[in-house]
């Protein structure tokens, strides 16, 4: 054990057993071992990995864009949730314009679906696969104003979610001061929300997404939408700027 670097914990516990089976458990020790550069890599394992890795290397190592800072999850808003929902909203609206359909107002995603933070610097295709590994598709739901309000209350109940196109304040677990496109929510209107088919099909039990007034699919995976958007922005000479902008606040 002493040979192994990175052991940071060693814990001995006690157990008493009333019954007497053949072998009696008398003591437990526990230690978790962190895997870092101090652990030697097994060359046989590397040999097995190599062909799989090399075959997709060119695709996965493409630099899509440069990010000016890292992006991580946070409550009630996080730089990661903000940047990804902004991208999906913008790319969704590019797709809507191409298809001559009405633009979307709001993007809502879930924190559980954002699987890794983004680093500062080069963002590769492989990193976007890690961020959004699922094959989920983009869908646009047209919701009644009432259901839209339920959505904001759900966001408040969750303590914030990845949201774009709207701002809100969470007061005692309820949504207040809701602005959509900078205008106060009006429950007599309908709103268009872009999200993933996972969430619209009942994932995370977001009941306000069930039986919407209209469902449109864009035949576009969320991951592809992000990759295409980043690549296009990079071509225009733009960088990625993840920020906190107070779109969701606690009162």
């Amino acid at each position: 054990m002493i040979l192994i670097r990175g052991i940071f914990l060693h814990f001995i516990l006690v157990l008493f057993f009333a019954c007497s089976p053949k072998s009696k458990l008398s003591k437990i020790e526990q230690s978790n071992i962190e895997l870092n550069s101090g652990n030697k890599e097994d060359s046989n394992v590397l040999k097995v990995i190599a062909p799989y890795k090399n075959k997709m290397k060119n695709e996965m190592e493409e630099v899509l864009i440069i990010s000016e800072s890292s992006a991580v999850k946070g409550d009630p808003e996080g730089t990661l949730g903000n940047i990804v929902s902004d991208i999906v909203l913008k790319q969704g609206n590019i797709k809507c314009a191409e298809a001559y359909i009405e633009k979307v107002d709001i993007c809502l995603l879930n924190n559980g679906g954002l699987r890794t933070p983004l680093p500062k610097g080069a963002i590769t295709t492989g990193k976007i696969f890690e961020l959004m590994p699922f094959e989920n598709q983009l869908v646009i739901l047209t919701l009644s104003g009432k259901k839209t309000l339920s959505m904001f209350n759900y966001i408040a109940f969750q303590g914030g979610m990845p949201l774009a196109g709207a701002t809100m304040t969470i007061k005692k677990g309820k949504a207040t001061n809701i602005l959509i496109n900078n205008v106060a929510i009006d429950t007599s209107l309908t709103y268009r929300v872009i999200t993933s088919d996972y969430l619209s099909n009942g994932g995370d039990k977001m009941n306000f997404f069930s039986s919407p007034q209209k469902t449109e699919t864009l035949n576009n995976k969320i991951r592809d939408a992000i990759i295409n958007y980043l690549r296009a922005e990079n071509k225009k000479g733009n960088t990625l700027k993840p920020v906190l902008d107070g779109r969701i606040k606690f009162e």
């Binding site: 978790n32 870092n36 080069a122 009942g202």
Partner: protein, 318 residues
């Protein structure tokens, strides 16, 4: 949903750990009283939620720069096996999904490498359904270890007969029963991927399996590989809830919530006996290790415990 209430959880974990140290402190006789050869040592190594993280995180990763990696884990496991005689290597599910290795090869490499490292068993996590039941069945030939699950009924699916509830391992005269428990799929996994899989009550199925392993099959050590998640603020069933409700289970190796439990959380089960919950975050950042010592003569011994911090750990995923 994965990372709800981490602050509460941290606080809770802290309290549990201090609580357990307090209990240990009551026992005053040092454990040196054991003559070493009286004891059989069983070393349980564990991972969970590796999520296709084959390579280490890159050096520019904001949270885990340069950490993890299967090739390193393989060496570490080999080193431990060269020192320890009785090693069990287990995984608590969500082997799949998280890097392009899964998108491109559907889990082939993950299972091949686990087989190469000598995994003894795994359970099934919600993301292991991501390519449908076909995505499991079609890759099973790459796994030389069983998938254990006691509470998914696959009998009306193509998975029928491809999994078992438990497996018994015998190490140096110690009988170890290992079984798996899966999380509720509705609302978490797309119905079209899991098809006619029936989720059964995990508490009930765990109880039935534990009784079978203890009373009929005479296991000395019972380990539950669980993908329920460590704990939740609401009443959702979790490892914590299962532990309190259980009897005969000694250790729950958990997953799903990506919780870094740097020490096992000790819970009193329904008989007032201690059960331990372990979980090592996700992505293969750490290898969990629990050593059990068995007396072969059946006499009661009192043991003293201590806690040491050797090297600084890494932060919980926030």
């Amino acid at each position: 949903m994965d990372e709800l209430n981490l602050n509460n959880r941290r606080q809770f974990i802290k309290q549990s750990i201090y609580g357990s140290i307090g209990i240990i402190g009551l026992n005053s006789i040092p454990f040196d009283i054991f003559a070493k050869n009286d004891l059989v040592k069983i070393t349980v190594l564990h991972t969970n939620d590796v999520h296709s993280h084959i390579d280490p995180f890159p050096e520019n990763d904001p949270k885990y720069p340069g950490l993890g990696g299967v090739a390193r884990r393989a060496t570490l496991i080999k080193e431990i096996r060269s020192v320890e005689k009785n090693v069990l290597l287990l995984d608590a599910g969500d082997i799949y999904q998280g890097t392009p290795y899964f998108n491109k090869y559907g889990g082939e490499l993950e299972l091949k490498l686990m087989s190469q490292m000598g995994y003894d068993a795994s359970t099934i996590g919600n993301h292991d359904f991501d390519n449908g039941l076909e995505g499991i069945v079609n890759q099973l030939h790459n796994a030389n270890f069983p998938l254990l699950c006691a509470n998914y009924d696959f009998s009306d699916t193509i998975m029928n007969g491809k999994t078992t509830a438990y497996k018994i391992f015998e190490k140096n005269g110690v009988k170890i029963g290992v079984f798996g428990i899966g999380i509720e799929l509705d609302g978490l996994v797309d119905k079209k991927t899991y098809g006619n899989t029936i989720y059964q009550d995990p508490i009930e199925k765990a109880a039935q399996t534990a009784i079978l392993l203890k009373k009929e099959l005479k296991c000395d050590l019972i380990i539950c590989l669980s993908h329920l998640g460590y704990s939740y603020q609401n009443k959702k069933v979790s490892d914590f809830v299962l532990a309190k409700q259980s009897r005969y289970i000694d250790l729950i190796i958990g997953g799903h919530t990506h919780t870094f439990l740097d020490k096992p959380v000790n819970v009193r089960n329904r008989d007032g006996q201690e059960i331990h919950i372990c979980q090592v975050g996700w992505a293969g950042l750490k290898l969990g290790r629990v050593d059990f010592y068995f007396e072969q003569n059946g006499k009661k011994k009192r043991v003293d415990g201590s806690a040491m911090n050797v090297v600084k750990g890494i932060e919980e995923r926030g």
